[in-house]
Symmetry: C2
Subunit: 213 residues, 2 copies
């Protein structure tokens, strides 16, 4: 699409088209919106982009994205260190943090086992998880040392999909020998959801996951 008016504008629209969910139409709308903004906003936007990309890296302990290493969640003395929640993505960490209901530690896998996509356990942060739990088991309480809280429970917060189920099964087998409490988050009808509108897989999960009253 050559519009013969501005190569720079086309370059900007082309760059915007690289964003997820942005097609040519949206790229055009975004480009014109950006051109209308004050110069100070644009300069700061560009700077934020570069700075964020430069500073934000995966935490070497939990693989959540942060500009600190270890990340504030791993460092915080307020977190409950007996619980470790395994998630797929840094976005999942943020979703759980928004609930303000979970106060333990995290471990970001970076994906799910998916043989069809060529993703095996070795592509994920599973080895790091094992090393983390091993180090945890080895740190025996010593005299004259500060007491260390050990991880006692591992919660798998992986989605209810084929890949999520496969990865959960894989991790369950791998972690059973450690003797840690293992659990997976519940699946069923979402709050506000209607039985009538739920798909049959969700209903089946809800039925299978029923709890005695």
């Amino acid at each position: 699409m050559s519009l013969a008016t501005s190569p720079t504008l086309e370059q900007l629209m082309h760059a915007l088209e690289h964003l997820p969910g942005v097609g040519p139409k949206t790229a055009q709308r975004l480009a014109f919106h950006l051109l209308k903004q004050p110069e100070s906003f644009i300069r700061q936007f560009a700077e934020t982009l570069v700075t964020a990309h430069l500073k934000i890296k995966p935490c070497s302990v939990c693989f959540h994205l942060s500009e600190q290493n270890p990340c504030p969640l791993c460092q915080s003395p307020k977190r409950h260190r007996e619980t470790l929640c395994v998630v797929v993505d840094p976005r999942d960490v943020m979703a759980l943090e928004r609930t303000q209901n979970y106060h333990g530690l995290y471990h970001v896998l970076g994906g799910l086992i998916s043989p069809l996509d060529g993703v095996g356990p070795e592509q994920l942060n599973i080895k790091a998880l094992l090393n983390r739990l091993k180090a945890n088991a080895n740190s025996e309480p010593q005299a004259d040392a500060e007491p260390v809280t050990l991880i006692r429970e591992v919660i798998l917060a992986l989605p209810p999909s084929t890949e999520g189920d496969t990865t959960s099964l894989y991790l369950t087998r791998l972690l059973k020998p450690t003797g840690l409490i293992l659990s997976r988050i519940a699946f069923g009808l979402p709050v506000g959801g209607d039985l009538d509108y739920a798909d049959h897989l969700t209903l089946t999960r809800a039925m299978d996951g029923r709890r005695s009253l």
Copy 2:
């Protein structure tokens, strides 16, 4: 929403939320996508943004956005200079250029008359349009000078809305005394559209705009 992990990440998401149609969820998705890109892409993206914003300005003749002034469309010897098409937005210029069917000149109004939004004729590029047509009328062919093609027709390509109709009416009254041929683009059933699915306003416009065979 403080996630206590990265102020830079929050800053980036906050900046992205300023884009049209981008809420907190999309901003998060965009931010994580951008963080995954190679550094070279990010640097170039930021540079393109700043450069485009710096270079691209409204053309002083037609008010289309361009990094040249006058813009390539105004300068091009290939354009038919007898026809001037009045549009709302630079995006409309690009839409018409994509059809490769119109070869005349343009004039971008920059908006539509809308008393409810406090937009009067003086906020739009209407005065510049009048001056442009006046200069056109005054440029009488002179001996020993290159022949100048004069604007003979003004096409109003304004949308079929209350504001579009008001602005068309206003411009019609303003331009009638110039003696130029005035027209407005046709409204009716879109190509591929089905009578059954068209709203009644479109159908009414299609009926009113019927042409003898």
